[in-house]
């Protein structure tokens, strides 16, 4: 009896999630009166602003991933190797972006780096892009750190470091040739998550006034009827794609191991 109820609730939950998706997809196909068509999608893909903002966000996502990896991998490594007592503190720091609203972070940026400050980053497009990248890196920090830290747990960081040192390797070599390749799967999984977050981020890009994909979606959603659902479906597909790629990265690694 319990089982039937549980399954019922589960199915209901699935419907709850799936129906809006189905409805949204259906709606997005009804742009042409009376028949289903991909006109809305054609309109979205035909819009140069779509490609411009998407490309911009993609580039920024790439920059964010690079910044994140350069920041997180050495930090997580160092905390594991030399500062285990700092772990709770670092974990606390990495959790902060989850609960502090992005709008608060961006507010701080605008005040700190405005045109009359000592470092007027918001004064130029490039400066603002740098600021936005830093903001995105902050947003992605919890995911990247958790992911890399979990990856590091699977290898014996201390002994591998000593082995490399005894063979003459310095810190750069150890990080680049030993640590990074061994947490590559974790880094990739964190990177895809970062990509998904950056592509959809709205607050920071809007307040810093940059032509990113998030504000574009918002703008389109407010002004058009049929394109928004199409765009939402596209965003959804991209997100699922990122999640799928994450899964694939993990699978691939397991496959490598399983060959033994």
């Amino acid at each position: 009896m319990m089982r039937v109820v549980a399954w019922g609730v589960f199915l209901l939950g699935c419907l709850f999630f799936l129906l809006p998706l189905v409805g949204m997809t259906e709606f997005s196909l009804k742009m042409r009166r009376g028949v289903y068509s991909f006109d809305a999608y054609a309109a979205v893909f035909g819009d140069p602003a779509f490609w411009a903002t998407f490309g911009y966000s993609l580039a920024l996502a790439a920059a964010t991933i690079v910044v994140g990896v350069v920041l997180v991998v050495p930090t997580a490594y160092w905390v594991r190797l030399r500062l285990p007592q700092a772990r709770p503190f670092v974990e606390f720091i990495t959790l902060l972006p989850l609960v502090i609203p992005a709008i608060v972070i961006v507010f701080g940026y605008i005040r700190m780096y405005n045109t009359s400050s000592f470092l007027p980053l918001t004064g130029s497009a490039l400066g603002t892009d740098i600021l936005l990248t830093m903001g995105y890196a902050t947003l992605a920090l919890p995911y990247m750190y958790r992911s890399v830290d979990t990856g590091l747990r699977t290898i014996d960081v201390g002994t591998l470091t000593e082995a490399a040192q005894s063979l003459g390797a310095g810190w750069v070599t150890i990080l680049a040739r030993i640590i990074l390749p061994n947490v590559m799967v974790a880094v990739l999984s964190g990177a895809f998550l970062t990509l998904a977050i950056v592509l959809g981020e709205f607050t920071m890009a809007a307040l810093l006034n940059r032509p990113a994909f998030g504000p574009y979606m918002q703008l389109l959603g407010a002004n058009r009827a049929y394109e928004p659902p199409a765009l939402a479906v596209i965003a959804f597909a991209i997100t699922w794609g990122c999640m799928g790629l994450m899964q694939l990265a993990t699978r691939f690694a397991k496959h490598e191991r399983a060959k033994a």
């Binding site: 290898i155 014996d156 002994t159 591998l160 000593e162 082995a163 490399a164 040192q165 005894s166 063979l167 003459g168 390797a169 310095g170 070599t173 040739r177 030993i178 390749p181 061994n182 590559m184 191991r257 060959k259 033994a260």
Partner: protein, 350 residues
């Protein structure tokens, strides 16, 4: 001038002095074991030589070069770890080549060296495999090849056999020793296994509580232990109390005995007399200095050796006899005698 010298090494962690005034001179090509229970400081000494720990005081000189302040990657030493520590993301060949690559050795020379090393450890076909595809023994041999490839001045082995199963352990220890002899590389080997230390080493350093209790050849350490700790830690031992009756004479279970060496104790004092199990014989032996009545308490059949425990002279005596097809081991509870010679008695100090 010795090749590797450790002088007055001290290491303190917080208030805990784990290594105290440690001195050791190692000749070129020598195989030295640091033997002791866990926590005796042996690994710390090794890690100081490797550069992973900085001595609180004292100095380390390798081949005339003061290395005490150098970083591990500047010392040109090779090291093997208990947990293999092969780089999981690299193939066997890449692992072995790693040290050479860091050194900037050209690719053709590197490849030749890797091949040479893999042949040395008997795994010439395994270059393309990944560590997880190898057995523990194979992994540890690759680790040896990796440590040796850059031609280090000193080879450091940190309990490299502990993680392996018994059979592999014995064959690999012979292999390591053979390769070490062939290359003539100065080696320090840390272990808590006395059999490994005795069978492999030119000299053994027995450590306890951060100090070197005795340094000597295996034969010497085993037969002439200088302290009670060394005597009991290395091998099995029977200990009797003897009453001193003269400068070189004692009574053992009421029997007067003249010792091989003078006793450094005044008349009437009690000294500890130690005896290896293989020096005690079952039954009455012609020419024995002491013969005691004994009751067999237990018999352990170990194959080539039979270890018997018998109650004699108020304590339990362990004795080893060789297995012989025509002489079955004694029965438990049997009344017999045990014989021993005064020349085999070791007077224990401290």
């Amino acid at each position: 001038m010795s090749f590797l010298s450790l002088s007055h090494l001290e290491k303190t962690f917080g208030t805990n002095r784990v290594v105290k005034d440690f001195n050791l001179s190692v000749e070129k090509g020598e195989f030295i074991s640091l033997l002791g229970p866990s926590g005796c400081g042996k690994t710390t000494v090794l890690r100081m030589v490797a550069g992973f720990e900085t001595p609180t005081s004292g100095g380390i000189v390798i081949d005339g070069q003061e290395v005490t302040g150098l970083k591990p990657n500047q010392r040109n030493i090779g090291m093997m770890f208990q947990a293999y520590a092969l780089f999981p993301n690299m193939t066997v060949a890449e692992n072995v080549a790693f040290g050479l690559k860091v050194k900037g050795v050209a690719k053709d020379k590197r490849d030749a060296r890797v091949e040479e090393m893999l042949r040395l450890i008997g795994l010439p076909e395994m270059g393309g495999r990944y560590p997880f595809q190898l057995s523990g023994g194979q992994q540890q041999r690759v680790a040896l090849a990796r440590a040796l490839a850059p031609s280090p001045r000193v080879l450091l082995l940190d309990e490299p056999l502990s993680a392996l199963d018994a059979k592999v352990r014995v064959s690999l220890r012979n292999e390591i020793r053979e390769i070490q002899r062939e290359l003539g590389i100065t080696t320090i080997f840390v272990t808590h296994d006395q059999e490994e230390a005795l069978s492999m080493s030119d000299r053994v350093v027995v450590m306890n509580g951060g100090i070197a209790e005795q340094v000597g050849a295996p034969f010497e350490v085993y037969n002439r232990p200088s302290t009670r700790f060394v005597a009991t830690f290395v091998g099995t031992l029977n200990v009797f109390d003897g009453a001193v009756t003269g400068p070189q004479s004692v009574t053992l279970a009421g029997v007067p005995v003249t010792l091989a060496e003078p006793v450094e104790a005044s008349k009437g004092a009690t000294v500890a007399l130690a005896l290896r199990p293989e020096a005690v014989q079952l039954g009455r032996v012609e020419g024995a200095d002491v013969v005691l009545p004994a009751t067999i308490e237990s018999v352990e059949f170990l194959g080539s050796i039979i270890r018997v425990r018998a109650r004699a002279g108020g304590s339990v005596v362990a004795l080893d006899t060789f297995n012989r097809m025509d002489a079955p081991p004694p029965a438990i509870g049997a009344e017999t005698e045990v014989s021993l010679h005064a020349r085999d008695l070791i007077v224990l100090a401290g």
